[in-house]
Amino acid sequence: MLVEKFLNHISNWGKLWFGLIFLGSIFNEILEKFNILSGSSYAWGLAFGLGALIGLTAKIRGAWL
């Protein structure tokens, strides 16, 4: 069933998605607000990459903290 597959995916990969989208968006906004790497195309990649990395680490560890 599609819903079940989706739920399994969320359960397995939720931390990575949260890191990428949620933390990535926050980091991106922080970089923009404080003009860090402003104008650089790396800023976007750095913010979302860091978010994804934190999420992936949490997924591997099985816990955020």
Binding site: I10, I21, F22, I26, N28, E29, W64, L65
Partner: protein
Amino acid sequence: MKESPEIAAEFSFEKEKLIAKSFSQRFQWEMILIGLGQAALWLSLWPLVLNGLLDLWVGFFIASLCACFAYLPSHEAQHGNYSRGNPKLRWLDGLVGHITLITLKFPYHILRITHMKHHAYTNDPERDPDYANAHNTSVLKVIKNVLDGSTVQFDKYLEVFQNDKAFVNSFHQAIPIALFYKAAPLVMVIIFPFETLLLWWLPAKIGSVYTTVFFSYYPHLGTTTGRYQNTRFWSHWMPRFFNHSMQLHFIHHLHPGIGHYDEPKAVEALKPFLVARKVPGADKIPDRVTLNPLINT
């Protein structure tokens, strides 16, 4: 209920129930006001902050307060304390139960069924969904687990109660709302990053920590199983209105139908019964529950 021969007839369960019932009739209007009020206030923060009419940090503070007030109105709904057995008013339980939990991002159906199991199996390591909180070794570990999200083990209890049809049905009923609460912040954070963080995500975490520590950890800390032993009266430096009078949580476990704001009077009336039953901390209950701290130990 089978009565222990040590209990005098004047403190029988029937008499205890009769007194408790007299405190279980009143319409819980304050709780409805708090539940719907905090949700409305929380929602109003969004246009105010987004239009620059309110500072984001002030909004964060108010949203965190709202989150701390969000669980209890839903908790009354979980016990059906608004409808009080009247099928025509059952919609009110659902309405308040769902709406007030928006701030905390928790689906009402899941909290309701897991809370019913908590009452049925309090302190049972396998079947009490709150066991991990109440029997943790320190309050800091409880806080860490809540922040981590590891106190929410709904999947585990779906397996434990897989043969309970009502439990499984309610669980499945909650899935769309649970998914909404997972997806909504992920969508909103792309458009309003700081607002989503400080008006919803972080306040929900703060509210969850507050609720878990005061509603789950302290009232059951060091207690065992059994109707009169699974919760305790306790004291805290914090004025009791700041911890939602959870020092009285024992009486709620004994008679969940008693309205939250009627619990102090019920405790006074039932004190002799509780002392006779050797309830932890009952001998230290003051004759009149008025000032803070509630119980001086």
